[in-house]
Every structure is written in C-alpha cells, then in structure tokens.
C-alpha cells in the first residue's frame, strides 16, 4: 500500500504495519488507520501517521524512555474494546501522545491516555487508564527518573 506523509513523502507500507483503532483516538472519530514512522529503528520518538490524511500525524514517545517504571492499568472497558484476554496483556505496546511546544523544553506527554497497540494483530485504542496518579501533561524532559509516583 502506498501512502503519503507530509514529513516523509510518499512510501510503501505493508498491510501488517497498519494499526487499526477499534475505538478512534479521542477527537478524531473519522480516522481509524495509522502507521508508525520513525527515522531509525532505535528511536524512542516517532510519528503516528494517519493513512487517510497525509496532514494528520501525532508525535508519540515510548513511555519507557521517560518513565522506566510506567505501569499502565487498563480498565475492563478498554480491555473489552481491545478484545483481548487477561493473558494477552503482555502482547500490548504503549505509546504516549506528545504536545511539542515552541520551546521544546516545555513539551508534555499524556501518561493517562496512552495509545495501546496489540502487537499480535495491530488493533489499538487510546486508553483511559485507571492509574489515578498518571497526569495528562507530564513533562517530556523531566528529571524525575524514579517513576510517576511523585507526579
């Protein structure tokens, strides 16, 4: 499948790379297919690019690059939408949506509503986590490496 991205231009992706949202990203109800783009495989910061709209992408960050102790607790509603069994929770991958500000030092990531992707079948949702101490605007460049306990 050929897709176009404003940043990466036109390129080919495989069907199995397409991430399908079982429930759309909040506020983007008419877009359900995305692909993750990165400059190099080891990057912790990536683009979540819409397949239908070349101008729509989110900047996403691997939570473990910021908070090694990130422990998302999914609600039973979200587990149902993802159509997974409790035993399949280890197949899930998490990404945080970032707001990159003009001065990048003030950029934030949303710990409360990660993008959750089933690595086996690429079905995804944006979760509404049960963790009460995970905030929506957590500094991307935080010095608190101990964990989210103090946020």
């Amino acid at each position: 499948m050929k897709i176009t991205s404003r940043e990466f231009g036109e390129f080919e992706i495989k069907d199995e790379d397409v991430i399908k949202f079982n429930r759309p990203i909040f506020g983007f109800e008419d877009k359900d297919s995305f692909v993750i783009l990165k400059d190099s495989p080891e990057d912790d910061i990536m683009y979540l690019q819409s397949i239908d709209d070349e101008n729509l992408h989110f900047i996403i960050v691997d939570p473990y690059a910021i908070l090694p102790k990130y422990e998302p607790q999914l609600s039973s509603d979200d587990i149902e939408v993802l159509k997974i069994k409790k035993s399949e929770i280890s197949d899930l991958r998490y990404m945080l949506i970032a707001i990159i500000t003009e001065n990048i030092e003030n950029s934030v990531v949303n710990l409360k509503n990660p993008i959750v992707i089933n690595s086996k079948n690429k079905q995804a949702i944006q979760a509404m986590l049960e963790n009460e101490d995970y905030i929506m605007r957590y500094p991307l460049f935080s010095n608190d490496k101990a964990g989210a306990s103090s946020c």
């Binding site: 983007f28 910061i45 989110f58 900047i59 690059a65 949506i97 990159i100």
Partner: protein, 77 residues
C-alpha cells in the same frame, strides 16, 4: 453549584427531558443511567479533555525539531 443527596434508584430531573438515575453504588463508584433526547450530547468529562489534548498535539514539526527532541531524550537516559 447545586448539591443534592440521592439514594440508589432515586433520580434527578434536569429541565423537562433529562433524567439521571442513580442505578448502582459500590465502593467509590456510582453507576448512573441517563434518559435524554438524542440530540443531547453526553460524554465523560475526561474524554473531552483528552480530545482537546489530542487536538493540541497535531502540529507541524520539522525534522530539525524532531532531531533536537531525540537528542534531548538521549541525554536524559
């Protein structure tokens, strides 16, 4: 702000067409049932906040800026 105490199965009327029923209470959770006309939009407040966050997240980001971000993240680790 108006504050009203309600028990299980009791309800509140808002205007002529909206009814909010307390259907279940357990621990720190309350289940409410809402009767309202179809054109009344009902969403959880946190979903509206997340939608707003997401809309603010869609911005132009040049590759140069992305590079600066990557360097920043590497430095932190």
């Amino acid at each position: 702000m108006l504050i009203i105490k309600r028990k299980k199965n009791e309800s509140i009327l808002i205007g002529d067409n909206i009814e909010i029923i307390i259907s279940e209470i357990s621990g720190d959770k309350v289940k409410v049932a809402i009767n309202a006309p179809n054109d009344v939009r009902i969403i959880r407040k946190e979903i509206k906040e997340t939608s707003e966050f997401n809309k603010n997240a869609v911005v132009d980001l040049s590759k140069d800026k992305l590079k600066a971000l990557k360097i920043g993240l590497k430095k932190m680790q």
